[in-house]
């Protein structure tokens, strides 16, 4: 499973939707995320990828779709590795 697929599956799990979103699908507009589901997703992402997302980066715009979440995860993973 690719990282994109992993993230999409975590979004599906947190949103309790039957299917994962497409990479560019708008997660807020299509009902995958709201403010509370987003907090669950952040926890799942941190646990799944062994990263820590700082409070200052908890901006909904960074979670608008799976592609943006993947960029955030990669950025945090790189910083952790560095």
């Amino acid at each position: 499973m690719t990282r994109t697929q992993q993230i999409a599956e975590l979004v599906r799990k947190c949103s309790k939707k039957p299917t994962p979103p497409d990479p560019e699908e708008p997660l807020f507009d299509n009902g995958y995320l709201d403010s509370f589901i987003l907090t669950d997703l952040v926890l799942e992402l941190e646990n799944a990828f062994g990263i820590r997302i700082p409070d200052s980066e908890l901006n909904p715009r960074r979670f608008e779709n799976v592609e943006k979440i993947e960029a955030l995860v990669e950025n945090r993973a790189t910083r952790s590795a560095g």
Binding site: F36, L38, T39, D40, L43, D55, L58
Partner: protein, 304 residues
């Protein structure tokens, strides 16, 4: 070491059920309960003010004690100045002693308890009051359904001083003004709230503050008998419990009946909880709050 010696509370009689509010807002009542856990809230009568609410709550906990200092938290006072503290003190027959206003929404009672614990050695018993008439700004036109559903009116109080009670062991207070715009009430406007920012930051910062005071006192979260949190939203309370890794039942909640009464909520909840809590000596109790500013923190206490 200062202790919380007693609690008091007062809520107005008028009940505004979510069904009634939903009809006014044109939303499904089930949506209100789902998104907030709030089934009803109390609304102050037209002749009830932050001052009268605060006086009623204080009267229920003073019990003849001598008071050396009054601290009043309110973010919904009816005027710019003076704040309600001096007038509340006057109406309680406490004119002449210092009375401090703390205009800190939501987290104000937590900040006030901490200040009281540190000032009690100098002033004697400190009367802490948090009184809010949030319905006025929350239900003002134009209505914002995401704000209007949340808030209610009420007041809580506590006496902090020397004696047997809940010993205040430690507290952690924090503020970060970079989020000032995300939850605010201007002099002329309705309550403005960036719900995503508030929920995301609260979900992170409240558990972190609780962990901070627990670690300093070398107390495990699992050892804390009761958690008393600002009653902002049931979904938030449940997520904080999850982050702290304790069963959600350990977080006392009355938001279903009173809604979010801003800084008053934590003390109203504490007073109600304390009426039936079967505390044993050594039981740990953790308080926590988060609100506009952002201001947030936690306080650890132990039953004597």
């Amino acid at each position: 070491m200062a202790s919380i010696l007693s609690f008091g509370r007062y809520v107005p009689e008028r009940v505004l059920a979510s069904e009634e509010l939903a009809a006014r807002l044109g939303v499904d009542p089930a949506w209100i309960v789902q998104i907030s856990g709030i089934e009803e809230r109390r609304i102050a009568a037209s002749d009830e003010t932050v001052v009268t609410l605060g006086v009623r709550a204080a009267e229920s906990c003073i019990a003849g004690r001598e008071i050396g200092l009054v601290i009043v938290s309110s973010a919904s006072s009816e005027r710019r100045f003076p704040g309600p503290a001096a007038e509340i003190a006057h109406q309680l027959g406490l004119a002449g002693i210092p009375a401090i206003d703390l205009p800190v929404a939501s987290a104000g009672s937590l900040f006030a308890l901490t200040l009281a614990s540190q000032l009690a050695p100098a002033y004697g018993n400190v009367l802490v009051i948090a009184a809010e008439k949030m319905s006025a700004p929350a239900l003002a036109e134009p209505l914002d359904k995401n704000v209007a559903i949340l808030f209610g009116d009420g007041a809580g109080a506590a006496i902090v001083g020397q004696g047997s009670g809940l010993e205040i062991l430690d507290s952690a207070l924090h503020s970060d003004g970079s989020y000032a715009a995300d939850l605010r009430l201007e002099f002329t406007g309705p309550i403005a709230m960036n719900g995503y920012s508030v929920i995301m930051q609260a979900t992170r910062k409240i558990p972190a503050a609780i962990a901070e005071v627990l670690e300093r006192s070398k107390v495990e979260a699992a050892s804390v008998a009761h958690f008393l949190m600002h009653q902002a939203n049931q979904n938030l309370i449940d997520r904080v419990a999850k982050c702290v890794r304790v069963p959600p039942e350990r977080f006392y909640s009355n938001i279903r009946r009173y809604g979010n009464t801003s800084s008053a909520s934590m003390l109203i909840a504490a007073a109600e909880w304390h009426e039936t809590a079967e505390l044993k000596p050594g039981d740990y109790v953790a308080f926590a709050a988060f609100g506009a500013g952002f201001h947030w923190g936690a306080l650890l206490a132990r039953q004597a």
